[in-house]
């Protein structure tokens, strides 16, 4: 805090004269309570159990967005790089950063009215904490002890799977967050055409007892699995308030004058080499393919500038140094290296088989583009379609593949943890010395360069998350970990709020009656 009277005598602007047809007559406006937010997501199903989420999966990120409605974390990170108290009000660590203590917020209740205890925290976090970290209760909170220093523990706890919940006897999970799960219906056959599934729905309603205050919205209705084009139409005609937009439709949405928000790059699209196909493990083949990939064209033409070329494993917003890597396209060099390989490797009779794990036209188009680039370096690539169960439920045998097109969603606020997760995903050995506990960026950079040098994973593109937002949605903000702060969102109906009355609904409002 400081007085800045002398700091800034800013005689500001304001020489603009404007016609004002209808100014509000209040000194300041305030958010309005009430209303239902209609949210449409393309994913077909959701898991609200963090223990089931797979690190780095796109599905886990979608799950976390909805889970953030009903669960809290120990701490959060604000938009200004400051850790803020959530279920923990204070925290301390020793000089080695191995031992951390957290003091819990008093009087926090789960949505069934029962009190949050330190034991709940331990039970929720222990299954998801990385190896080497042990959590236990203390007199007024919890302690987390590491066998090694964990200076980035707060970054970890403020992102990813580290939500606090309680498992009930029936297996359902309870949270302390701003909303609670009210209804959930699975996809059902349509009456007119039973072969067509009606999308699943989830309804959340406001938690009147939320420790951070009741959210502005009364409820949130989520529709899962609607096609993207239908979602865009629904947003246009006012049947939806928030939708997720795939990158290949962002341009259309903007041309349609929709309000589109984009995140920092959140998903890495990459090629992962596997040893299942002979020849795929040859480092010369990997280097030749790496040098043949035209990432700029993929980002700028195929994805119409809605993606960025990926020069590294970690995005720039997380590491701060990704620009140092650069994208290495060099077709002549790729051809030279290819010429040193046996003629039958990745050739016409035995092409390198590329499997596209994710469903969707975009991934298929990207796979085809990879094949075109590879062909320019005399490397034959054959796309293998997404494997789906047959009508008998059996999975047809798929040919061994040497290459996968994968999507990796960044879910940690710690670059060190994210790189460790990626290394784990690649089954790459990372020694404790290699990835330092001090967060030394030079060693982090060195380790990332080493992983890139192995070329087990060739980064292609970085995709932001795109969200379409109705004009009536106010206070739209997103946490640094990518969670939508829907507890702060309110709906502006265009009618002025009364200035001299309290607009917070009563704790037990009559059904259908809202301010």
């Amino acid at each position: 805090m400081r007085f800045t009277k002398s700091l800034l005598l800013a005689a500001i602007s304001a020489s603009v004269f404007a016609l004002l047809a209808s100014l509000p007559m209040l000194a300041t406006k305030h958010p309005k309570y009430g209303g239902t937010l209609r949210l449409e997501l393309q994913i077909a199903k959701v898991s609200l159990d963090p223990r089931e989420w797979k690190t780095g999966s796109v599905a886990a990120a979608e799950n976390a967005r909805l889970a953030a409605l009903i669960y809290d974390r120990l701490v959060t990170l604000d938009d200004y790089g400051r850790f803020q108290p959530a279920l923990a009000t204070e925290w301390f660590h020793d000089a080695s950063s191995k031992n951390w203590q957290f003091k819990l917020r008093p009087n926090v209740k789960f949505s069934d009215g029962s009190a949050l205890t330190a034991k709940d925290i331990v039970t929720a976090l222990q299954p998801v904490l990385p190896p080497g970290l042990q959590i236990s209760t203390t007199e007024n909170g919890i302690t987390i002890r590491g066998t090694h220093p964990v200076p980035d523990l707060l970054e970890q706890l403020a992102s990813g799977r580290y939500f606090i919940f309680r498992v009930q006897s029936d297996g359902n999970l309870l949270g302390t967050g701003p909303f609670l799960l009210a209804e959930s219906s699975p996809p059902t056959p349509a009456e007119a055409n039973p072969s067509v599934l009606k999308p699943a729905h989830i309804k959340f309603r406001a938690n009147e007892e939320a420790w951070a205050g009741r959210p502005f919205l009364d409820s949130i209705e989520v529709t899962l699995g609607d096609p993207a084009l239908r979602q865009i139409l629904n947003l246009q005609v006012g049947r939806a308030d928030i939708i997720d937009i795939p990158p290949d439709l962002v341009r259309k949405a903007r041309q349609d004058n929709l309000r589109v928000w984009s995140s920092p790059p959140a998903t890495l699209l990459a090629l992962r080499f596997d040893d299942a196909q002979s020849g795929a493990s040859d480092p010369r083949l990997r280097e030749a393919l790496d040098l043949a990939l035209d990432r700029d064209t993929m980002a700028n033409v195929l994805l119409q500038r809605q993606a960025l070329p990926a020069p590294a494993l970690l995005p720039h917003w997380l590491s701060g140094y990704a620009f140092l890597f650069g994208t290495p396209m060099n077709l002549d060099r790729a051809k030279q290296i290819r010429a040193t390989l046996p003629a039958n490797v990745a050739a016409g009779s035995d092409p390198l088989r590329l499997r596209v794990d994710a469903v969707g036209d975009l991934m298929k188009l990207l796979g085809e583009r990879v094949a075109v680039n590879a062909r320019q370096a005399n490397i034959a690539i054959q796309l293998v379609g997404h494997t789906v169960p047959s009508s008998m439920g059996a999975v047809p045998p798929s040919p061994s593949t040497g290459l996968h097109l994968i999507a990796w969603h960044y879910d940690s606020l710690s670059p060190r943890t994210e790189l460790l997760n990626l290394a784990h995903y690649l089954h790459s050995e990372v020694s404790a010395d290699a990835l330092p506990d001090t967060g030394d960026p030079e060693k982090l950079y060195s380790e990332e360069r080493r992983l890139l040098g192995e070329r087990q994973l060739l980064p292609l593109l970085l995709l932001p998350d795109y969200v379409g937002i109705a004009p009536s949605v106010r206070n739209w903000t997103v946490s640094p970990s990518g969670e939508w702060r829907l507890a702060d969102v309110w709906l502006d109906s265009g009618e002025p709020a009364a200035s001299n009355t309290e607009t917070i609904p009563s704790r037990n409002p009559a059904p259908g009656v809202h301010p």
């Binding site: 805090m1 007085f3 800045t4 009277k5 700091l7 800034l8 005598l9 800013a10 005689a11 500001i12 602007s13 304001a14 020489s15 603009v16 004269f17 404007a18 016609l19 004002l20 047809a21 509000p24 007559m25 209040l26 000194a27 300041t28 406006k29 305030h30 958010p31 990170l77 604000d78 938009d79 200004y80 790089g81 400051r82 970054e155 420790w211 205050g213 009741r214 502005f216 720039h316 917003w317 997380l318 590491s319 701060g320 140094y321 620009f323 001090t438 967060g439 960026p441 030079e442 950079y445 106010r474 206070n475 739209w476 640094p480 970990s481 702060d488 200035s499 001299n500 309290e502 917070i504």
Partner: protein, 310 residues
Amino acid sequence: MLADTTSLDEAISQFVERVAAIPNLRGPLRLQFFQDASFATETGKDWQETFRKEIEKHHLAVTDDPAATPLRVGLAETPTQLVFSAGTRVSEKDEVRFLTLPRTAFRAASLPVAPIRIERQLVYQSQDRILDASSLWNGTEGGGMAVLTYHNAAFSVLRLDSSGQSTQTIPLAAAVAQASRDPRGELTIRASDGVVLLPTKSCEFTWTASTEAKCHAPKSVWRTATVLTPSCDAGGWKLLSDGADWAMPDVLQVVPDGSLRQGSAALLTDFPGPILSINGEQDPASALVVTKNLRTGNYEVYKITLACGN
């Protein structure tokens, strides 16, 4: 890790020392800068120019010659840190150097200054949520101010002297209420006492007595639009804010008061975040405006004075 740096220039100086210490690094160097979009307007070219000057101090010449050794230099904002990075190739070897500092240590640049019509002066800032502010000077400079804060569902009134130091804190223990995502409160200061109006209570306190504030059911209505009357215009100008979207910078609108001039014209001034309160009760020519700076996250109090002439 540079733990306690508060000046970007100091950080750049230390970073350049590390870069200049790269073995066998010799000029002339061709600098290639990379920076986050978030720095484009605030620190902008400043840090690049500072870097250039610092590198020249180390007797490393800088050139635009495309044949010169490139030195790639970046400044990025990660979720928790500012990261300076530099990379070059020396004697067939890649060399990189880094310097990081916590984002919270970064001192944001001043807001830009524009021609005078409305005088705007940042008089106080705090990480604690400020709901309202009132001057104490009654038209006389040097009296300080009072701010109403909200922290952990508790309200307090802070009395600040002219240097911004807190001289008195009056906790409104009797006003503790259910936690709210939109805490509201208005502060009215009289000669030796004050009133805090809350959604469900009205609390009175005195600066002189050590007794706690007394709260009772509210009897007043919320403040309506603030009207300022500069010495050259007795007609009055109304201060209005445009919206309540906490994610958007706000605009303070200054419109002529009175039916004859209503809706005809306005002066506008941009704020670094949403405007949370406007209080012009103490001085006919100035008001205190509370905003949340979306760049820094701090709550800021500005003194708005309508200046006569241009």
